[in-house]
Amino acid sequence: MNKQSKRTVLIAWLAGISLFFYFIYRIYMYSSLSLGLVNALFAFFLLLAEAHSILQSLGFISRIINLKKISENWYHHAPLDLNNLPEVTILVPARNEPLKILETTFICLTSINYQNKKLYFLDGSDPEFQEQNASLAQKYGFYHFVPKQPSKNKAEIINKILPQINSKYVSVFDADQNPMPTFLLEVVALIEYSQKIAFIQTPQLYTNITASPVAKGSALQQSIFFENICEGKGATNSMFCCGTNFIMRTDILKEVGGFDEKSITEDFSTSIKIHSLGYKSIYYKHVRVFGMAPETLSAYFKQQYRWAGGTVGVIRKLVPLIIQGKIKLTLSQSWEYLLSATYYFTGWSFFVLVMSPALYLLFGVPSYFANPYFYLITFIPYYILTLTTFYATMKKRHYKVRDVFVGTMMSSISFPILMQATLSGLFNKKMAFKITDKGRGKKMPWIALWPWIIMVAINIAALINGILRYSENHYAIGINMFWCFYHLILISSIFRLNKIPKLYEKE
C-alpha cells in the first residue's frame, strides 16, 4: 500500500469511529427526550433516516478498509492453451433496440480475439423489428434466436436458450455494451483458475458522457459504484452479478435453475443463490467493456426504478429463506447483500432529511434541538470525516470534487422514483420490465416533475420563513436554513438536467 492509500484507510477508520459516537449520541438524545405525539413521530422518522445514512456510510468505510487486500497479486490466472480454449457462448439479449446500437455491439463482439466462441443474439423484439435484426445477425455471424412465446424479461429469454448451450462458459452483454478484443482471454484465464469460481464480473464504463448532463452524471454515479463499492465487495467474495459484462460457468447457472425469472433484477437474486451454494465470484476491476449511459432523465429514472424495485423485491423473498436456513451466506456476504438490498431506501431517508429542516422552519416541528456543544463534537467530525473518506478515495482515482458532486446529485434527485420503486418492491406490486431508452431523446414534461416542483416550493417557503424568524434563535434557524439551501440546490438541479440530448436537439 502506498502512502496515499494508507492515509485514506486511516481517515476511513477515523470516520468509522466518529460515526459510531454520533450514532450513540443520537440514540441517547432520542431516548432521553419526552415529546408530544407529533414531535415523537418526526423524531423517530429522522432517527430512522439518519440510521440508514449511517449504515450506508459504514458500508462504504468497511469497503475502503477492505480494499487494502486487493492488489494485482489478488488475481490468479490459469495458463491458457490458445489452440485448445474452452468454448464460450456469448449471449446478447435485446428488445426493440435501435439497429445502430446493435450493430456497434456486434462489431465489437465479432472482434473479440478468442478462437472458440459462439455468438447468440437473443431477440425479444416486437415482430416489426425481427426481420432487420435477423439480417444484421446474419451479417456478423450471430445465431438469431427468437423465442416462440414473447419473453417478459432478460432472465426468461436466457433461460429459454440455456438448455441448448453446451459450452463451458456463457458470457452476457447488454445490447449497448462494447467489449474490447482481449475481454475473453483475460476473464477465461481468471475463471479457469478454480472450479469454485462461478462468475467473473467486470465494470461498466459509460462513454457517451458528452451526450447530455444526465449521461455524464449517471456515468460518474456508475463509476463510484464500480470502483470503490464493487472492489470492496470483491475483496470479501460478495460481488454480485450485474447482468452484463460477465462470464459464468454454464453448469453452475444450470444448477441454480437458470436466472431468477421472478425478479426484474435477476442477476442480483441469482448471485445470492450461487453464493449460497458456496461458489465464489470475482470482481475483475479493469475496464474491458465500454457502454452507454441513459441520456435523458426519463431513461435514467426508468433504470433506477427497475434496479430499486427489483433489489428491494429480493429482500422480501429472501429474508424468510435466510431465516429458515435455506440460504446460507458468510457473514461478509450477508453484510454486503444487506447493504445493497437496503441501499435504495436512500430515497426515503433523503426525503425525511429534506423535509425535517423545512418543517422546522415552517411549523417548528420537530421542536427539539441537539445541544450545540454535543452536536459540534459528534456530528461535525462524523460528517466531515465521512465526506473526506469519500472524496479522498475518488481523488485517488483522478476524479474532481465537482465530478463526484454531480454523481451524488444524480442519486439525490432520484428520491421520488426510489420511494415509489421500493414500495412496489416491498409490497410485490407488479413491475413491468422497462428497457432503459438508448438513442432516443425525450424531455420529461413539466407535469411529470411535480414532486420536485413541490419540494423546491417547500424549501423556498421555508427559507423565507427562516429569514423572517431568524432573530428568534440564530443557531437553530441558521443551521436549518443552511440545510434547506443545500437541498434546494440539489433538487432544483433537475431542471438543468431535463434536456434533450445534443444528438436529438434538432428533431
Binding site: 462489431i107 465489437c108 472482434s111 462494447n178 462513454t207 458522457i209
Partner: protein, 75 residues
C-alpha cells in the same frame, strides 16, 4: 480447395470488419473516456492525435483488404 477459399475469404472479411469498423469504435470510446485517466492534458491530446492517425490508417487497411477480397473471390 473450395473450403480453404471460403475460410480465407471469411478471415479477410473479419479483418476488414476489425479495421474498418472496430478500430474507429474503440478509438472513439477511448477518446471520450481519457479525461478519467488522470493524465496531463498534453499527453491526452497526444494520445487522441495518435488514435486519429490509427483511424485513418485503418481506413486504408480496410480498402486494401477489400481489394484483396475482390481479386481473390474472382480467381
Amino acid at each position: 480447395m473450395k473450403k480453404n477459399k471460403s475460410l480465407i475469404l471469411n478471415t479477410l472479411k473479419e479483418a476488414m470488419i476489425k479495421e474498418e469498423l472496430a478500430v474507429p469504435l474503440y478509438a472513439s470510446h477511448i477518446t471520450q473516456t481519457l479525461f478519467w485517466s488522470g493524465l496531463p492534458e498534453k499527453k491526452q491530446q497526444k494520445i487522441i492525435a495518435g488514435l486519429k492517425v490509427l483511424e485513418i490508417e485503418s481506413g486504408h487497411h480496410a480498402l486494401a483488404f477489400k481489394k484483396i477480397m475482390d481479386t481473390y473471390s474472382n480467381l
